[in-house]
């Protein structure tokens, strides 16, 4: 069975889909980075905060200061343009992937699912020969031109898109979402200012419609996009769905446009050839000599692809290994395509205590964290512990002996009343961070 699948993976198909993908991805990334810069977020997120919540295993990642961070974003913007034009493509994709992933690793509180998606796609693009047609590289080195690539090159991007959709759909299959229209029923009344549909935002059935439509869309759209007869119709739904989310939830930023543009990958090679023929300087595929792109060590590639796919399919399910309510404990929540799934708000009061003198001080969070960091920290257990360790360190430097850190954290989930989140008697600074279940988080009570 394995050789059969492998030979299918390496069957030559048109390069056109990944060429379009490269162009729109580069363009969108450039626009995103320009927007990020223009909004001053490089400063507010990566330069000004004196403390950052690092990822487990990536504690060594540090921001580079004002000039350094702006240079990183400049590199990202330039490499995005280079990806778009297909100029020194391999170098550009490596630079883009490294810069983007580095920035994402600086601070957990800036985590967004679509940033993770962009990191993954950038990683995949490194390995894909998406510059072998209609690119500057091809102008410079015409002998590199390819009209076909192994099937997996297109397939892996379609797979990645499908993963985002299907897992986002599976994540919505929980009682609050389906049978209580949560959190849509909380979010929609805040949208009553919208023209035409505004007055309906108070109607409960509209919240149910949004919830169910969202779940069904996410679960099935990838399959309708894969199946040729339903594809145009499905793409129409992609447009409707993502434009609607962009209007209703402008705070999700570039995500709808990324999905609209990247969903084009599901269209056929001939569709993309026709699309590209509208572009300036496009020469018909058959008019020039070309080669069939093939990878050496096909078997190794098959194994690599298999591993990547397995990871993508299994990692989002790691939450099943943890006890307790996923949305409450958030163990296995990130990197699992849980997008706009819950309304969780919290606030926290920390106290630092000197082990020797028993002196205690109530911490002013705003003196240590940005409003965004404080907001994110107050609902996520690993960040609470991380912050407690940071406080202990800070107060030790100020002369406290073995500072203990206690917190009163109150969290409201999906419109329920706020309640105590972590054990107030536990010294949070002494808690180990890791993959284990955090027993100091109080159990969820529905």
């Amino acid at each position: 069975m394995f050789p059969k699948i492998a030979s299918q993976l390496h069957k030559p198909v048109s390069i056109a889909p990944i060429v379009t993908f490269r162009i729109v991805f580069g363009l969108l990334m450039f626009a995103s980075i320009a927007r990020f810069w223009y909004n001053g977020w490089i400063n507010t997120l990566y330069v000004l905060p004196p403390f950052h919540f690092t990822y487990l295993g990536f504690e060594w990642v540090r921001p580079l200061g004002h000039t350094g961070m702006h240079l990183i974003f400049l590199c990202m913007g330039l490499s995005a343009l280079m990806i778009m034009f297909g100029f020194l493509y391999r170098i550009a994709t490596v630079i883009f992937f490294l810069c983007f992933t580095y920035v994402e690793l600086i601070d957990v509180t800036t985590y967004l699912n679509h940033y993770y998606f962009i990191s993954l796609v950038a990683f995949l693009l490194i390995w894909l020969p998406a510059h072998r047609h209609y690119s500057v590289d091809m102008r410079l080195w015409p002998h590199l031109r390819c009209l076909t690539v192994p099937r997996w090159c297109v397939g892996i991007l379609r797979f990645q898109m499908a993963v985002v959709y299907v897992f986002a759909g599976i994540a919505k299959l929980y009682a609050d979402w389906l049978f209580d229209a949560m959190p849509m029923r909380l979010w929609l009344p805040a949208k009553s200012h919208l023209p035409i549909v505004g007055p309906w935002m108070y109607e409960l059935w509209v919240a149910y419609l949004f919830s169910w439509f969202g779940a069904v869309y996410d679960l099935f759209i990838a399959f309708f996009l894969l199946y040729r007869p339903t594809r145009p119709f499905a793409y129409f739904f992609v447009l409707v769905f993502h434009i609607a989310t962009a209007i209703f939830f402008p705070a999700i930023g570039m995500f709808p446009f990324v999905m609209i543009a990247n969903s084009l990958i599901f269209f056929s090679g001939s569709f993309h050839q026709r699309l590209q023929s509208f572009l300036p300087g496009y020469t018909s595929a058959n008019a020039l000599p070309s080669q069939v792109y093939s990878f050496a060590q096909a078997q190794l590639w098959s194994i690599g692809i298999g591993l990547y796919i397995s990871f993508q399919l299994l990692f989002p399910f790691r939450y099943l290994l943890y006890p307790g309510h996923l949305f409450w404990h958030e163990e296995g929540y990130r990197f699992s395509w849980r997008v706009m799934l819950m309304e969780k708000t919290g606030n926290s009061f920390f106290t630092v205590k000197d082990s020797a003198t028993q002196q205690q001080i109530e911490v002013n969070n705003a003196a240590f964290l940005t409003p965004l960091q404080e907001k994110m920290m107050s609902t996520q257990p690993d960040l609470i512990a991380k912050y407690a360790q940071h406080l202990a360190q800070q107060y030790q430097q100020r002369g406290m002996q073995q500072p203990q850190v206690y917190a009163q954290v109150y969290v409201s989930l999906n419109g329920q009343r706020s309640r105590l989140f972590v054990d107030t008697t536990v010294n949070l600074a002494a808690q180990k961070l890791g993959w284990q279940h955090y027993t100091w988080v109080l159990p969820y009570k529905p």
Partner: protein, 371 residues
């Protein structure tokens, strides 16, 4: 359809049907209905905010007259009259302090009028300028050199003007014997600046009103988000600079009595009471039926609304249990002040967690992306 898609679709359909069988009983949604957000904002603008600034203008004018009288003949009579005018103006400003968005935000009114020291500033040592401090060194230097740096955006500047400086210069123990021409001029300069700023904010509201009532969004920086955020912010001010920090919550019990708001004027407790009263009045739309509290009820959150209002009343009651003046009570009635602090903390949680979660408003001014 290829078999693999059929399989996937079938699994998904089955999953959905299975989940559908567990349908729980619906919660009561009878309260939910259309709510006129524009009417709410019109109410806030026309009945609360604009009249409040008009009163502030009057109060500042009266304060100006009282300062003139005190400066020309400093005695206990003119000082007593000045204290009344000062208290009226400061209390009125506490009401206006909740409207720190739009024109007031552009004018940086809150920093120039009544600097809180900023909530992101560590409150540690007595000498440091934090909370409701007064920068007496800068003030005395400004007077001696007949200069000021009122428009400078620095902590030294904020702490040397507005209510903190007036409170010190008019009511410090030697305020009467210390009065001289230079000091009189400095006082007049301060209040003249307050007059200019309050006039400007009041005038700007005439044009800002349409922007305010015309925006019924709830995103960061929108009027509704501003209302929720200001309530949360003023609760934080009440918790920290007004009560908690002077009480020693951030300093292992070391009390900082002189950092009570308007320490020299001796109206700290009255100001704290006014703060919670005006927060309640803002939240409830002053009982007009067109306030944020009514919006909560329309969202099916009647119980939360009742609890928020009740907690506001509890905080007010606890403040009433404290005997004036607050700076003395910090030590003499520690238990009563601490009890108040605990109730304030409960209210902070309600307005920073429960309230934003049901109104889909973010507590924070950051406008970065989310998902």
């Amino acid at each position: 359809m290829k078999p693999i898609y059929l399989i996937f679709s079938t699994i998904a359909v089955i999953a959905l049907s299975v989940l559908s069988c567990n349908k729980p009983d619906k919660t009561d949604d009878t309260d939910k209905g259309n709510f006129d957000k524009t009417a709410m904002l019109v109410q806030y603008a026309d009945n609360q905010i604009i009249p409040a600034y008009a009163t502030l203008q009057t109060n500042i004018s009266e304060l100006q007259a009282a300062i003139d009288a005190f400066a020309s003949s400093p005695n206990s009579g003119t000082q007593a009259a000045l204290k009344t005018a000062y208290a009226n103006a400061h209390l009125q400003y506490i009401r206006c302090g909740l409207y720190n968005f739009g024109p007031a935000e552009s004018a940086i009114l809150d920093n120039f009028f009544n600097f809180t020291g900023g909530l992101d500033y560590s409150f540690t040592t007595d000498g440091a300028l934090t909370g409701f401090s007064v920068d007496t060194a800068t003030i005395l230097n400004n007077i001696a050199t007949s200069s000021n740096n009122f428009t400078s955006l620095s902590r030294a500047s904020f702490y040397a003007q507005g209510f903190p400086a007036l409170n010190y210069l008019c009511f410090e123990p030697n305020a009467i014997p210390n009065m001289d021409a230079k000091r009189a001029q400095y006082l007049k300069d301060i209040v003249a600046r307050m007059k200019t700023l309050s006039d400007k904010v009041a005038a700007d509201w005439a044009s800002y009103r349409s922007t305010f009532v015309g925006n019924t969004q709830s995103n960061s920086g929108s009027p509704i988000a501003n209302i929720v955020n200001q309530i949360a912010y003023q609760m934080d001010v009440l918790k920290g600079p007004c009560i908690g920090w002077p009480l020693g919550k951030a300093s292992n019990g070391t009390v900082f009595a002189s950092k009570c708001e308007a320490y020299y004027a001796g109206i700290s407790l009255a100001l704290a009471k006014e703060r919670i009263a005006s927060i309640k009045s803002f939240y409830s739309g002053n009982g007009s039926g067109k306030g944020l509290s009514d919006y909560l009820v329309s969202l099916g959150q009647a119980q939360l609304n009742t609890d928020i209002l009740a907690q506001m009343d509890i905080v007010a009651t606890k403040l009433n249990d404290i005997a004036d003046p607050l700076p003395t009570a910090l030590t003499s009635q520690y238990t009563a002040v601490d009890a108040t602090y605990k109730e304030i903390q409960k209210l902070v949680t309600l307005v920073k967690t429960d309230l934003p979660s049901v109104t889909a408003v973010q507590i924070s001014y950051a406008d970065n992306d989310g998902d």
